[in-house]
Subunit: 150 residues, 2 copies
DNA sequence: ATTAATGCAAAATCTTTGCACTTTC
DNA sequence: GAAAGTGCAAAGATTTTGCATTAAT
Protein backbone atom coordinates (compact mmCIF):
# COMPACT_ATOMS: atom_id res chain seq x y z
CA UNK A 1 0.00 0.00 0.00
CA UNK A 2 2.94 2.32 0.60
CA UNK A 3 4.44 3.82 -2.49
CA UNK A 4 7.92 2.43 -3.16
CA UNK A 5 9.35 5.91 -3.59
CA UNK A 6 7.34 7.82 -1.06
CA UNK A 7 9.28 10.08 1.22
CA UNK A 8 10.02 7.74 4.07
CA UNK A 9 11.72 5.44 1.58
CA UNK A 10 13.95 8.08 0.02
CA UNK A 11 17.03 6.19 -1.02
CA UNK A 12 20.51 7.54 -0.42
CA UNK A 13 21.15 8.49 -4.00
CA UNK A 14 17.88 10.35 -4.48
CA UNK A 15 18.37 12.04 -1.17
CA UNK A 16 21.86 13.12 -2.16
CA UNK A 17 20.60 14.67 -5.35
CA UNK A 18 17.92 16.63 -3.51
CA UNK A 19 20.31 17.75 -0.79
CA UNK A 20 22.62 19.06 -3.48
CA UNK A 21 19.77 20.83 -5.21
CA UNK A 22 18.58 22.57 -2.06
CA UNK A 23 22.11 23.44 -0.99
CA UNK A 24 22.88 24.89 -4.40
CA UNK A 25 19.81 27.07 -4.00
CA UNK A 26 21.04 28.24 -0.62
CA UNK A 27 18.29 26.52 1.32
CA UNK A 28 18.71 24.64 4.56
CA UNK A 29 18.13 20.92 4.44
CA UNK A 30 15.02 20.03 6.37
CA UNK A 31 12.77 17.02 6.28
CA UNK A 32 9.71 18.83 4.92
CA UNK A 33 11.75 20.46 2.17
CA UNK A 34 13.35 17.20 1.13
CA UNK A 35 10.00 15.46 1.09
CA UNK A 36 8.25 18.16 -0.87
CA UNK A 37 11.19 18.49 -3.24
CA UNK A 38 11.02 14.78 -3.87
CA UNK A 39 7.32 14.92 -4.65
CA UNK A 40 7.84 17.88 -6.92
CA UNK A 41 10.89 16.82 -8.83
CA UNK A 42 10.88 13.06 -9.02
CA UNK A 43 8.89 12.65 -12.23
CA UNK A 44 9.65 15.30 -14.83
CA UNK A 45 7.80 18.55 -15.08
CA UNK A 46 4.70 19.17 -13.06
CA UNK A 47 2.18 21.87 -12.30
CA UNK A 48 0.87 21.83 -8.76
CA UNK A 49 -1.27 23.95 -6.54
CA UNK A 50 -0.43 24.39 -2.90
CA UNK A 51 -3.48 22.42 -1.90
CA UNK A 52 -2.73 19.54 -4.25
CA UNK A 53 0.81 19.33 -2.98
CA UNK A 54 -0.31 19.23 0.63
CA UNK A 55 -2.79 16.45 -0.17
CA UNK A 56 -0.11 14.52 -1.98
CA UNK A 57 2.32 15.03 0.86
CA UNK A 58 -0.14 13.79 3.42
CA UNK A 59 -1.12 10.84 1.25
CA UNK A 60 2.54 9.87 1.10
CA UNK A 61 2.79 9.93 4.87
CA UNK A 62 4.32 13.33 5.41
CA UNK A 63 2.71 15.40 8.12
CA UNK A 64 3.08 18.95 6.90
CA UNK A 65 0.97 22.02 7.46
CA UNK A 66 -0.49 24.04 4.65
CA UNK A 67 1.50 27.04 5.88
CA UNK A 68 4.74 25.14 5.42
CA UNK A 69 3.68 24.02 1.97
CA UNK A 70 3.10 27.65 1.03
CA UNK A 71 6.35 28.74 2.63
CA UNK A 72 8.24 26.02 0.85
CA UNK A 73 6.69 26.71 -2.52
CA UNK A 74 7.44 30.41 -2.15
CA UNK A 75 10.99 29.75 -1.04
CA UNK A 76 11.58 27.31 -3.88
CA UNK A 77 10.26 29.91 -6.25
CA UNK A 78 12.42 32.67 -4.79
CA UNK A 79 15.38 30.32 -5.11
CA UNK A 80 14.62 29.67 -8.76
CA UNK A 81 13.60 26.04 -8.31
CA UNK A 82 9.99 26.70 -9.31
CA UNK A 83 8.05 29.18 -11.34
CA UNK A 84 4.65 30.50 -10.45
CA UNK A 85 2.11 30.53 -13.26
CA UNK A 86 -0.84 32.84 -13.05
CA UNK A 87 -3.66 31.76 -15.29
CA UNK A 88 -6.58 31.39 -12.94
CA UNK A 89 -7.94 33.92 -10.57
CA UNK A 90 -8.78 31.30 -7.99
CA UNK A 91 -5.42 29.65 -7.42
CA UNK A 92 -1.72 29.73 -8.17
CA UNK A 93 0.11 27.02 -10.03
CA UNK A 94 3.74 26.19 -9.42
CA UNK A 95 5.64 24.83 -12.36
CA UNK A 96 8.72 22.66 -11.93
CA UNK A 97 9.79 23.58 -15.44
CA UNK A 98 11.94 26.67 -14.97
CA UNK A 99 13.20 26.88 -18.53
CA UNK A 100 11.66 29.34 -20.93
CA UNK A 101 8.44 27.84 -22.18
CA UNK A 102 4.75 28.54 -22.59
CA UNK A 103 1.41 27.05 -21.65
CA UNK A 104 -1.87 25.77 -22.84
CA UNK A 105 -4.55 26.28 -20.25
CA UNK A 106 -7.79 24.31 -20.28
CA UNK A 107 -10.05 26.53 -18.27
CA UNK A 108 -12.83 23.99 -17.88
CA UNK A 109 -10.50 21.50 -16.30
CA UNK A 110 -8.13 23.94 -14.57
CA UNK A 111 -5.34 22.11 -16.34
CA UNK A 112 -2.00 23.45 -17.51
CA UNK A 113 0.03 21.90 -20.32
CA UNK A 114 3.59 22.90 -21.14
CA UNK A 115 4.56 24.16 -24.56
CA UNK A 116 8.23 23.98 -25.46
CA UNK A 117 9.74 27.39 -26.06
CA UNK A 118 10.66 26.50 -29.63
CA UNK A 119 7.12 25.41 -30.48
CA UNK A 120 6.02 29.02 -30.44
CA UNK A 121 7.61 31.61 -32.64
CA UNK A 122 7.15 35.12 -31.34
CA UNK A 123 8.71 36.81 -34.30
CA UNK A 124 8.31 40.40 -33.27
CA UNK A 125 7.86 42.14 -29.95
CA UNK A 126 7.01 45.74 -29.28
CA UNK A 127 9.59 47.94 -27.65
CA UNK A 128 9.37 48.15 -23.88
CA UNK A 129 8.35 51.46 -22.38
CA UNK A 130 11.35 53.65 -21.54
CA UNK A 131 12.92 52.69 -18.25
CA UNK A 132 11.75 49.09 -18.31
CA UNK A 133 13.32 45.86 -19.41
CA UNK A 134 11.67 42.63 -20.43
CA UNK A 135 11.74 40.15 -17.61
CA UNK A 136 10.04 37.42 -19.57
CA UNK A 137 7.50 36.75 -22.26
CA UNK A 138 4.64 34.45 -21.43
CA UNK A 139 2.36 33.00 -24.04
CA UNK A 140 -0.83 31.44 -22.74
CA UNK A 141 -3.08 29.63 -25.17
CA UNK A 142 -6.49 29.20 -23.62
CA UNK A 143 -8.31 26.13 -24.81
CA UNK A 144 -11.93 25.11 -25.02
CA UNK A 145 -13.34 21.66 -25.59
CA UNK A 146 -14.06 21.17 -29.27
CA UNK A 147 -17.71 21.44 -30.22
CA UNK A 148 -18.41 18.78 -32.83
CA UNK A 149 -22.05 19.87 -32.78
CA UNK A 150 -21.09 23.02 -34.64
CA UNK B 1 -15.35 70.23 -6.55
CA UNK B 2 -17.75 67.94 -8.38
CA UNK B 3 -16.42 66.48 -11.56
CA UNK B 4 -18.17 67.91 -14.62
CA UNK B 5 -18.81 64.46 -16.02
CA UNK B 6 -19.43 62.51 -12.88
CA UNK B 7 -22.43 60.27 -12.87
CA UNK B 8 -25.05 62.61 -11.51
CA UNK B 9 -24.29 64.89 -14.45
CA UNK B 10 -24.67 62.27 -17.15
CA UNK B 11 -25.98 64.19 -20.11
CA UNK B 12 -28.75 62.86 -22.29
CA UNK B 13 -26.55 61.90 -25.18
CA UNK B 14 -24.00 60.05 -23.06
CA UNK B 15 -26.78 58.33 -21.22
CA UNK B 16 -28.38 57.28 -24.48
CA UNK B 17 -25.17 55.75 -25.69
CA UNK B 18 -24.72 53.77 -22.47
CA UNK B 19 -28.34 52.64 -22.43
CA UNK B 20 -27.90 51.36 -25.95
CA UNK B 21 -24.70 49.59 -25.01
CA UNK B 22 -26.24 47.83 -22.03
CA UNK B 23 -29.39 46.98 -23.94
CA UNK B 24 -27.39 45.52 -26.80
CA UNK B 25 -25.64 43.32 -24.26
CA UNK B 26 -28.97 42.14 -22.92
CA UNK B 27 -28.57 43.86 -19.57
CA UNK B 28 -31.25 45.77 -17.70
CA UNK B 29 -30.76 49.46 -17.32
CA UNK B 30 -30.12 50.34 -13.72
CA UNK B 31 -28.56 53.34 -12.11
CA UNK B 32 -25.48 51.51 -10.74
CA UNK B 33 -24.83 49.90 -14.12
CA UNK B 34 -25.11 53.16 -15.99
CA UNK B 35 -22.84 54.90 -13.53
CA UNK B 36 -20.21 52.19 -13.54
CA UNK B 37 -20.41 51.88 -17.31
CA UNK B 38 -19.83 55.58 -17.60
CA UNK B 39 -16.77 55.43 -15.37
CA UNK B 40 -15.44 52.46 -17.28
CA UNK B 41 -16.06 53.54 -20.83
CA UNK B 42 -15.90 57.31 -20.93
CA UNK B 43 -12.17 57.70 -21.60
CA UNK B 44 -10.74 55.07 -23.90
CA UNK B 45 -9.32 51.80 -22.70
CA UNK B 46 -8.75 51.16 -19.04
CA UNK B 47 -7.66 48.45 -16.67
CA UNK B 48 -9.42 48.49 -13.34
CA UNK B 49 -9.64 46.35 -10.28
CA UNK B 50 -12.92 45.92 -8.46
CA UNK B 51 -11.60 47.88 -5.54
CA UNK B 52 -10.34 50.76 -7.65
CA UNK B 53 -13.67 50.99 -9.43
CA UNK B 54 -15.60 51.11 -6.19
CA UNK B 55 -13.34 53.87 -4.88
CA UNK B 56 -13.77 55.81 -8.06
CA UNK B 57 -17.52 55.32 -7.98
CA UNK B 58 -17.76 56.55 -4.42
CA UNK B 59 -15.48 59.49 -5.14
CA UNK B 60 -17.83 60.48 -7.95
CA UNK B 61 -20.79 60.44 -5.61
CA UNK B 62 -22.24 57.02 -6.40
CA UNK B 63 -23.15 54.95 -3.41
CA UNK B 64 -22.52 51.41 -4.51
CA UNK B 65 -21.54 48.32 -2.58
CA UNK B 66 -18.47 46.29 -3.36
CA UNK B 67 -20.72 43.31 -4.04
CA UNK B 68 -22.54 45.21 -6.74
CA UNK B 69 -19.27 46.32 -8.26
CA UNK B 70 -18.18 42.70 -8.46
CA UNK B 71 -21.55 41.61 -9.80
CA UNK B 72 -21.50 44.34 -12.40
CA UNK B 73 -17.95 43.63 -13.52
CA UNK B 74 -18.75 39.95 -13.82
CA UNK B 75 -21.95 40.62 -15.72
CA UNK B 76 -20.21 43.04 -18.06
CA UNK B 77 -17.58 40.43 -18.65
CA UNK B 78 -20.11 37.70 -19.31
CA UNK B 79 -21.85 40.05 -21.72
CA UNK B 80 -18.62 40.71 -23.58
CA UNK B 81 -18.26 44.33 -22.51
CA UNK B 82 -15.11 43.66 -20.51
CA UNK B 83 -12.31 41.17 -20.42
CA UNK B 84 -10.70 39.82 -17.31
CA UNK B 85 -6.93 39.77 -17.29
CA UNK B 86 -5.10 37.43 -14.97
CA UNK B 87 -1.55 38.53 -14.36
CA UNK B 88 -1.35 38.88 -10.61
CA UNK B 89 -2.22 36.37 -8.01
CA UNK B 90 -3.57 39.01 -5.68
CA UNK B 91 -6.21 40.67 -7.80
CA UNK B 92 -8.15 40.57 -11.04
CA UNK B 93 -7.98 43.28 -13.63
CA UNK B 94 -10.86 44.12 -15.92
CA UNK B 95 -9.94 45.50 -19.29
CA UNK B 96 -12.30 47.68 -21.29
CA UNK B 97 -10.41 46.77 -24.44
CA UNK B 98 -12.20 43.70 -25.74
CA UNK B 99 -10.39 43.47 -29.05
CA UNK B 100 -7.57 41.00 -29.48
CA UNK B 101 -4.48 42.49 -27.92
CA UNK B 102 -1.72 41.78 -25.46
CA UNK B 103 -0.19 43.26 -22.35
CA UNK B 104 2.89 44.53 -20.70
CA UNK B 105 2.75 44.01 -16.97
CA UNK B 106 4.92 45.97 -14.57
CA UNK B 107 4.94 43.73 -11.55
CA UNK B 108 6.51 46.26 -9.20
CA UNK B 109 3.77 48.76 -9.89
CA UNK B 110 0.90 46.34 -10.50
CA UNK B 111 0.36 48.18 -13.76
CA UNK B 112 -1.00 46.83 -17.05
CA UNK B 113 -0.25 48.40 -20.42
CA UNK B 114 -2.01 47.42 -23.62
CA UNK B 115 -0.12 46.17 -26.63
CA UNK B 116 -1.90 46.35 -29.95
CA UNK B 117 -2.47 42.94 -31.49
CA UNK B 118 -0.43 43.85 -34.56
CA UNK B 119 2.57 44.93 -32.49
CA UNK B 120 3.27 41.31 -31.65
CA UNK B 121 3.84 38.72 -34.31
CA UNK B 122 3.17 35.23 -33.11
CA UNK B 123 4.35 33.55 -36.24
CA UNK B 124 3.84 29.95 -35.27
CA UNK B 125 1.69 28.20 -32.72
CA UNK B 126 1.79 24.59 -31.65
CA UNK B 127 -1.13 22.38 -32.49
CA UNK B 128 -3.78 22.16 -29.81
CA UNK B 129 -4.22 18.85 -28.05
CA UNK B 130 -6.82 16.66 -29.72
CA UNK B 131 -10.33 17.60 -28.70
CA UNK B 132 -9.53 21.19 -27.86
CA UNK B 133 -9.78 24.45 -29.75
CA UNK B 134 -7.92 27.67 -29.18
CA UNK B 135 -10.08 30.14 -27.36
CA UNK B 136 -7.49 32.89 -27.40
CA UNK B 137 -3.80 33.56 -27.30
CA UNK B 138 -2.51 35.86 -24.62
CA UNK B 139 0.95 37.31 -24.67
CA UNK B 140 2.11 38.87 -21.42
CA UNK B 141 5.42 40.67 -21.36
CA UNK B 142 6.55 41.08 -17.78
CA UNK B 143 8.66 44.16 -17.22
CA UNK B 144 11.23 45.18 -14.63
CA UNK B 145 12.60 48.61 -13.98
CA UNK B 146 15.84 49.08 -15.89
CA UNK B 147 18.97 48.80 -13.76
CA UNK B 148 21.40 51.44 -15.00
CA UNK B 149 23.80 50.36 -12.23
CA UNK B 150 24.58 47.22 -14.16
C1' DA C 1 24.48 29.35 20.47
C1' DT C 2 22.48 31.53 16.61
C1' DT C 3 19.70 31.47 13.19
C1' DA C 4 16.20 29.64 10.54
C1' DA C 5 12.15 26.45 9.78
C1' DT C 6 7.82 24.44 11.36
C1' DG C 7 3.05 24.03 12.99
C1' DC C 8 -0.89 25.83 14.52
C1' DA C 9 -4.33 29.03 14.62
C1' DA C 10 -5.63 33.44 13.56
C1' DA C 11 -5.65 37.17 10.33
C1' DA C 12 -5.74 39.28 5.83
C1' DT C 13 -7.25 39.46 1.19
C1' DC C 14 -10.19 39.02 -2.56
C1' DT C 15 -14.54 37.36 -4.11
C1' DT C 16 -19.10 35.25 -3.73
C1' DT C 17 -23.55 34.37 -1.57
C1' DG C 18 -28.05 34.67 1.08
C1' DC C 19 -31.74 37.33 1.89
C1' DA C 20 -34.72 41.28 2.48
C1' DC C 21 -35.83 45.21 -0.21
C1' DT C 22 -36.10 47.89 -4.37
C1' DT C 23 -36.22 48.64 -9.22
C1' DT C 24 -36.92 47.46 -14.00
C1' DC C 25 -39.60 45.66 -17.69
C1' DG D 1 -46.67 41.98 -10.81
C1' DA D 2 -43.02 38.89 -12.21
C1' DA D 3 -38.25 38.84 -12.66
C1' DA D 4 -34.02 40.71 -11.87
C1' DG D 5 -30.77 43.92 -9.38
C1' DT D 6 -28.98 45.92 -5.06
C1' DG D 7 -27.01 46.39 -0.40
C1' DC D 8 -25.51 44.58 3.58
C1' DA D 9 -23.32 41.43 6.21
C1' DA D 10 -21.76 36.98 6.44
C1' DA D 11 -19.48 33.17 4.39
C1' DG D 12 -15.84 31.09 1.28
C1' DA D 13 -11.43 30.52 -0.46
C1' DT D 14 -6.68 31.26 -0.91
C1' DT D 15 -2.60 32.93 1.05
C1' DT D 16 0.06 35.17 4.79
C1' DT D 17 1.49 36.07 9.54
C1' DG D 18 2.56 35.82 14.67
C1' DC D 19 4.44 33.19 17.93
C1' DA D 20 5.99 29.31 20.58
C1' DT D 21 8.60 25.15 19.57
C1' DT D 22 11.90 22.53 17.14
C1' DA D 23 15.73 21.73 14.17
C1' DA D 24 19.93 23.07 11.40
C1' DT D 25 24.35 25.32 11.01
Amino acid sequence: MTSPDSCAQLNKQTRQRLVAKLAAAGLRITAPRLHLAHLLFRHGNRHVTAEALRDEAQASGLKVSQATVYNTLNQFQAAGLLRQVQVDQARSYFDTNIDAHHHFYVEDEARLIDIAADAVDVARLPESPAGYDVDRVEVIIRLDKSEPSK
